[in-house]
Amino acid sequence: MLFSRFWVVLLAVIAGASVAAMTLARKTYDHDRALDTAALVESDRRIVEEFLRRDARTRIDDLAPLAGDGALVTAMVTATRRTGDSPALIGNTITTRLRDLNAGLGPLRGDVLFAVDPRGIVVGRVGLNENTVGDYVGGIPLVERALAGYVRDDVWELGGTAYRMAARPILSEGRYYVGAVVHGIAIQQRFVETVAQLVPGASVVFFSAAQTYAGFTPVPERGGVAAPPVGALSEPVRTLAGRSEWASGAVSLELPEHGGRVSYGAIPGAAGMGIAVGRGLPSMPTDFLLHASKEDLARVPLAGIGAGVAGLIVVAMLFFALEFGAKKKRLAEAFAGLQRGPANRLDPVALTGFANDLALAANDALDAVVRREVERSGGKVRSVNDLESLLTAPGDAPQNVRLPLNEADEQRQWRELYEQFVAKRRECGEAADGVSWDRFAGTLRKSREEVVSRARSKGARFTVVVKDGRAAVKAAPLG
């Protein structure tokens, strides 16, 4: 019994530990991946910001030939002096030249391109509001600084569209400032997709407090982590202004509804624009077997696992053999002894565990047979000794049978029973000192009366048994 129980407990502990380990591993995995993802989106955002910086520098540099174009400079000198041709005519001349130059910029062709005189007045314009001149823009930082002599970039919002802007001063003969050229490219879907290629697997959104300009969410690879959709990244934008950390220009948020993480970064500039980069949170997959490749399966130590399982089975069989084999053998011997005689009953005291239970059940069955035979014989059979002819071979003397006895015999048998009980308690590792004879005999008397009353029997018989690892006295009706 001990071995089998130990084995069941061991299996339960192993199973419980395995479940706990799996749960803990999943939590730990998810926690670590959440931290990794938070760091990753921060890195993604910085990558995008650095790209935008480099992109701005490229646009500024590519404006240099345009700002130094002879025809444009000449027209700007005329516009600056405000002599000769009318502003409208000069505006047409500058706009025409800007249009030609813009076409030559290739992929950096501006969606908006205009020239500004030293007073900050637009004197030629291509693209948005083409050919509209006369507006004052000299106080806008991008233009103001270009007119002062700086090359500069910025982000503007014009008519609901965000533009990446760049500006350069226009110099005449290297001695005079005669204005500035201002160039802008709209932030559109294609540009966002180009940016998103820098951070594979991440969603990218360009936004302002009032609107989302453009966004891109990649299609997840098979078994990959789905990035949060553009809408999920745009949703918390309204709350950014209320966050104290936004003053530093960056906020990292978890997207619990979409299982993702997003990093927001402010893009300093006149558009009040920002960029959001988001990723999904990888979670320990429950369908990982579906995604396992042949190589993954080849790496599993199947031989070791098989050997371990076989070893556990052998140990289990050994335990069960030790546990049940010996008891089964003793029970078989007891039945053989019953068959041989002269005993008419099994001795449960000699058996333990399930064998003890079976012996008691067998004895109860024998008692029942005796009672039926007594009733059937009309009283000829009054005791189990009379069953000799029924249960044992003629001539065998009945032994080890507990029958109604006189008080002296009963006291003697109870004394033997007491000694068996005390011995059994010691075998079971229980304290025997606290069990006095008087108390034991009193308990037997009380039990006998209860059995006689309940079963309407002539008496009771008692046997010492081991139940659940503890010594006990079992009472059964007699006669």
């Binding site: 520098r57 823009v137 106080g139 103001e144 090359v151 001063p169 300093p268 500039g269 558009a271």
Partner: protein
């Protein structure tokens, strides 16, 4: 000779009936006015390119008298400005650069710029908003109410270098338009003593008193130092 005597007599009669005269003035020392540096916030630094062109020296910004200086005339017969006062934002600048208003004045910011702004108001030299920022889209306007007398700055979240100074105080009179050369004038003044003040970037840079008595008066204010002493112009005289 007779005709000249008649004209002189008519002039004397008219001057005794109507006593409305002009005041002309000019601002001196404009070269000393240099716009204060407006550093970008620390988190903006390095976020965009702003480097010298490498071919020609950077131009130092200069004050624009027409746009950046406010001249205010006060006197017993000059009523305070009527509300509301409008500040026009155009091309990234506030026109006029300094607004002089009475306390409690409702200020309308008219964004005629092609870009949107997020205006907010702080007390001069401070950073804590007394009027919270709010998006003011292109070609829209926003009304502000200043809490009390004092000097304020209208700023823009999107363009940290944007400034519009507001001086709110009692006894503000009439704002006189100033041209590019620093000249200003006002007509129809009754005889009396007037005070002329010039403000630049929210601070009073010059002031002077001028007495108008039966003829056109002139005043010159030196923005570089103390206000020039007021004096009567004896060269021009016009009667009504």
């Amino acid at each position: 000779m007779r005709r000249r005597a008649v004209a002189a007599g008519l002039a004397m009669m008219l001057s005794g009936v109507a006593a409305a005269h002009d005041l002309r003035g000019s601002l001196g020392g404009a070269d000393t006015l240099t716009p204060s540096p407006r550093p970008v916030p620390p988190r903006w630094r390095g976020s965009f390119w702003e480097v010298p062109n490498g071919g020609l020296a950077i131009q130092v910004p200069r004050a624009n008298l027409e746009r950046d200086v406010a001249v205010v005339l006060t006197g017993a017969s000059v009523p305070e400005m009527r509300q509301p006062v409008t500040a026009r934002v155009e091309g990234g600048r506030c026109v006029p650069g300094t607004l002089v208003v009475a306390p409690g004045t409702t200020l309308t910011v008219d964004n005629e710029d092609l870009l949107a702004h997020e205006f907010y108001v702080v007390r001069a030299g401070q950073t804590e908003p007394v009027v919270a920022s709010e998006l003011t889209a292109s070609r829209t306007r926003r009304q502000l109410s200043l809490p009390a007398a004092g000097a304020y700055e209208l700023r823009d979240q999107r363009q940290p270098q944007f400034r519009c100074w507001i001086v709110a105080g009692p006894g503000q009179g009439r704002v006189l338009p100033v041209d590019r050369t620093g000249a200003f004038s006002v007509s129809g003044l009754e005889d009396g003593t007037y005070t002329v003040k010039a403000y630049f970037e929210g601070a009073e840079r010059a002031s002077g008193e001028v007495t108008v008595a039966g003829r056109e008066a002139t005043v010159t204010l030196s923005l570089g130092g103390e206000a020039a002493p007021a004096h009567e112009d004896t060269h021009r005289h016009r009667d009504h």
